[in-house]
């Protein structure tokens, strides 16, 4: 590790070693050819720059909002590989596939390289001066509330700067939008525990029952949870934790559960109440109001409604009773249904009944600077923006880190509504669907070339400010960091305030150094503190949180009666957030396209998961192209007969079906988000993702499903390959 952070900027100025002269092949008839190759030496070099030795610089991963600390291996001026930063409280040196692919976001051949101004259907490269001037000009004709900023997850100083800019524009609106955000969970948590994201202690729990939370795959902070999961499985006191997953479509977490309970879509809440009922029956103390709430949820009824065997409900209750503390987590089920908030309340009630609050559900660390804390993203934001656009209330629209033209349901007619805004500016890495609709596209630096700070979406026990810093010289001369653009725009409005900052780097440095006392650097020299911060790539700040305040009462839980069967659209569509694709923003990173989906092992395409029974009923076999039709459109994709899904549901992964974005993303699969019904959670107004009813039909074509799984189809054919053993057959306490 380089301690001397002071040289970071110099390092970037000096020339790279050997330019881009990478020998692409090592196996040809290469002979020793004297004097044919060039060795370009440095003009100036610092001590740590040694040719052929990789140097590691810390930064923060920007592939999702989890905010893992990373270190980039830099050699000869190029970043080669990302590895985890062991100091980070989020990932402790580990990384996921998505994070590994960060280098491909950086080196992506389809990045936007120049500011592009729309002229007809094409983009014309213009200078930054012209681009920024144009924005200033267009903003002049709009009132504050006619300007909207649509962003994805944002935190840290970029978010603070954006806040300042919105203010400077006279109250422009910020819409923070993310399809996969656990927005309903956060709202429900706020109610039940008093905080949006309590600190979940998986490692302390002896049993976990998760209601569709894919915490190992794609939920909130998977790398962090995976590590806790490993400790939970090892059982620090010798007892191996037990995981029960309740969901309608098997997620990666479900695939790792000791018991995977397939429930009828939307009945997760019923099951939670059923478990409480069974706990009561097993002798656990229940308060009167809870008792009366769950009295109708006898195992037989619950089993009938959810489809889970009654015996399993009893076993689950027995397990939870025996193993304390336990932990119930509400996940995608909560985001999925109009009664999602109710499901969350039922799960919270379960936690409360089991006495988990305060034991495995703790208060998170406080983030002392709220302006740096992650923006509360959600799907309702897009609905609000769409309404504003439809009503013609938005004249200038900025988008950054969000791709609504791709991810909005066709029912919202977002693309058409967007046209109503007079001037659309997209901050973009790629020419994605939204950038193509914009009037002005501003090319962004990649996450490995840019400065920034991040506050993780999920804090854990210590709050942490991740510092993002350039790991190498800019790949394209004419791209800029989002922070730099915002600063330049701010200077247009409030030149005096910001004139002291030459660029975003200067701003960031000042902002961090000024608060060094709060960031644990009290008394340190400015330069030393800043140097150390960059060297570590993160600052830990904020004390552990206090106690949790909220409480959920039986009155908060009111589950609706089971929905009547819909003859026209008999199936529930579950859009699946895959660990690799998430909401589709990484679709142009080929490693992620080629890495098989862990459960189906499909690559380079989307698929429709159908339960074998349902498939047999409909005469569908693997590879049939099926048409999935909802009230708002239809998509075609290959069928994959998959045992891990409830027969009344079909599932299609998100993130595929891009019409633009780049060579690896374009025309790969179908976009499931486009056919969603715009149904909202009744309490929070967040779009419910699993409320779309569909019918499926064969489209008459059959293809070979391109997947990793071979002809044996996941069978071991009697061979001892992946072996499983039940807990009573092993002794884990003796293990190393």
């Amino acid at each position: 590790m380089i301690e001397n952070g002071m040289n970071r900027r110099d390092f970037l100025k000096v020339l790279g070693w050997g330019g881009a002269a990478v020998a692409l092949t090592g196996c040809g008839n290469t002979s020793v050819e004297d004097g044919k190759e060039l060795i370009t030496s440095y003009v100036e070099a610092t001590d740590y720059m040694i040719p052929s030795i990789g140097v590691y610089f810390n930064s923060t991963c920007a592939q999702c909002d989890a905010g893992c600390g990373i270190m980039g291996r830099v050699r000869e001026g190029r970043v080669l590989k990302l590895e985890g930063n062991a100091d980070s409280v989020i990932n402790h040196g580990k990384m996921c596939a998505l994070g590994q692919a960060g280098v491909q976001a950086h080196y992506n051949p389809d990045r936007v390289r120049d500011p592009l101004l729309r002229s007809g259907s094409k983009g014309e490269a213009i200078t930054w001066e012209k681009a920024l001037g144009l924005i200033n000009e267009k903003l002049g004709g709009a009132k504050g509330d006619e300007i909207a900023f649509l962003t994805g997850g944002m935190s840290g100083h970029t978010k603070a700067l954006l806040g300042n800019y919105l203010e400077a524009l006279g109250g422009a609106k910020h819409y923070a939008y993310d399809v996969t955000a656990p927005a309903v969970v956060r709202a429900a948590n706020k109610k039940a525990y008093g905080v949006e994201m309590p600190h979940l202690r998986l490692d302390k729990a002896k049993a976990i029952v998760s209601f569709g939370a894919d915490f190992l795959g794609a939920w909130v902070s998977p790398v962090h949870f995976s590590q806790q999961y490993a400790r939970f499985r090892k059982g620090e006191n010798g007892q191996r934790g037990v995981l029960v997953q309740v969901e309608s479509k098997m997620t990666l977490t479900g695939a790792n559960a000791d018991r995977w309970l397939a429930v009828r879509p939307g009945t997760e809440g019923v099951l939670a109440l059923g478990v409480i009922n069974a706990l009561g029956a097993a002798g656990l103390y229940l308060s009167e109001d809870v008792k009366s709430l769950v009295k109708d949820y006898a195992p037989e009824r619950v089993s009938k409604e959810t489809g889970a065997p009654a015996e399993q409900i009893g076993k689950l209750a027995a397990l939870l009773k025996e193993r304390s503390p336990s932990l119930a987590i509400a996940g995608s089920a909560v985001e999925g249904y109009a009664h999602g908030s109710q499901i969350a309340a039922a799960v919270a009630l379960l936690n409360q009944v089991l006495g988990n609050v305060g034991k495995t559900i703790e208060a998170p660390a406080n983030v002392p600077f709220q302006q740096l804390a992650p923006a509360a993203t959600g799907r309702a934001a897009l609905v609000a923006l769409n309404d504003a656009l439809a009503a013609g209330k938005v004249k200038v629209l900025f988008t950054y880190g969000a791709n609504p033209v791709y991810s909005a349901s066709s029912a919202m007619k977002f693309k058409d509504n967007m046209k109503k805004a007079a001037f659309k500016v997209a901050f973009a890495h790629y020419l994605d669907e939204t950038a193509l609709e914009a009037d002005l596209v501003l090319p962004l630096d990649s996450a490995l070339e840019d400065w920034g700070t991040f506050v993780p979406a999920y804090a854990g026990d210590v709050a942490q400010l991740g510092v993002q810093q350039p790991l190498m010289e800019k790949l394209h001369a004419n791209t800029r960091g989002a922070g730099d653009i915002l600063l330049a725009l701010l200077k247009q409005k409030e030149a005096d305030k910001y004139k002291g900052f030459e660029d975003y780097y200067a701003y960031l440095r000042t902002a961090v150094v000024q608060n060094k006392a709060a960031l644990g650097g009290a008394g340190a020299d400015d330069d030393t503190f800043w140097g150390e911060t960059l060297s570590k790539g993160l600052v830990k700040f904020g004390a552990a949180g206090g106690s949790l305040s909220g409480k959920v009462s039986a009155a908060d839980v009111a589950l609706p009666a089971a929905a009547a069967a819909d003859a026209q659209f008999p199936l529930t569509l579950i859009p699946y957030v895959t660990p690799n694709q998430r909401d589709g923003r990484h679709a142009n990173q080929p490693w992620l396209q080629e890495a098989p989906d862990p459960l189906t092992t499909v690559v380079w395409d989307s698929w429709v998961e159908i339960h074998p029974k349902k498939a047999a009923e409909l005469g569908i076999v693997e590879g049939d192209i099926v048409e999935v039709t909802s009230k708002h459109g239809s998509i075609k994709a290959q069928a994959y007969v998959f045992p891990g899904i409830h027969p009344e549901a079909v599932s299609v992964p998100m993130g595929y079906g891009h019409e633009a974005m780049g060579r690896y993303a374009k025309d790969v699969g179908a976009n499931v988000l486009s056919i969603l019904d715009p149904v909202a959670d009744k309490v929070t107004g967040e779009t419910a993702l699993n409320e779309t009813r569909v019918k499926i039909a064969k489209a008459g074509k059959r293809v070979i499903v391109v997947k990793e799984e071979g002809a044996a189809g996941g069978k071991q054919m009697g061979k001892k390959i992946a072996v499983r053993v039940s807990t009573d057959k092993v002794d884990l306490s003796e293990e190393v």
Binding site: G26, C27, T30, D34, S41, I53
Partner: protein, 202 residues
């Protein structure tokens, strides 16, 4: 027919003899002075002036004074321009020589000198300068110029460096199969160079 038979016997005998001789002496075939081509460098750097013996007007500078990476990295590297300038800005006597002028031109333009590779290996060969320098110079205590000279030849008497050893696989392997003392002590244990393919090809 006899003539035919005699001829066949002779031919077969000849083939066998040449074959086995060639096999025995194969490495030797390429160890002769296999001088590489004269490489034209942007600046005709006089190694003899810098590293040559004092008796011949050289300054006897240690190889690793400039090629400082050799002991720390697989790649010996070319020193940064900064290094040349570090000395030469104080050496007034040669400042207006054409080569030095050119050097300063590069420096002022902050452009690296486009040196050409003299000792090039195929891309699938990974030679570690570090290990060889550590082993022979630091652990075994051989003189630097001798150790470097095994592969680079008598650079101190060259102006622009020129490849003088074959740098071929048989040539490398030949040395790896010899017993070399592990440290400087006279009766110390010896060891051969590694014999794995993966040592150099990976």
């Amino acid at each position: 027919m006899h003539r035919f038979l005699r001829l066949s016997v002779l031919l077969i005998g000849l083939f066998v003899a040449t074959g086995s001789h060639a096999a025995e002496t194969a490495p030797a075939l390429t160890t002769a002075d296999d001088l590489g081509p004269q490489v034209e460098q942007p600046i005709e750097f006089p190694h003899d002036r810098h590293a040559g013996d004092a008796s011949k007007g050289g300054m006897q500078i240690n190889c690793m004074y400039c090629h400082t990476y050799a002991r720390r990295s697989a790649s010996s590297g070319i020193p940064p321009l900064q290094k040349c300038i570090g000395c030469h800005q104080n050496i007034e006597s040669v400042k207006d020589k054409p080569r030095i002028k050119k050097l300063f031109e590069y420096w002022e333009a902050k452009k690296p000198v486009p040196w050409k590779k003299v000792h090039d290996l195929p891309d699938y060969v990974r030679f570690s300068h570090e290990r060889h320098v550590q082993r022979f110079v630091f652990q075994q205590g051989r003189p630097v110029q001798e150790a470097c000279g095994y592969c680079h030849g008598d650079v101190k008497n060259m102006t622009v460096a020129r490849r003088s050893k074959p740098l071929s696989m048989g040539w490398c392997a030949d040395c790896h199969q010899k017993d070399h003392p592990v440290d400087g002590a006279a009766a110390a244990k010896t060891a051969k160079g590694p014999n794995d393919c993966w040592q150099c090809h990976k």
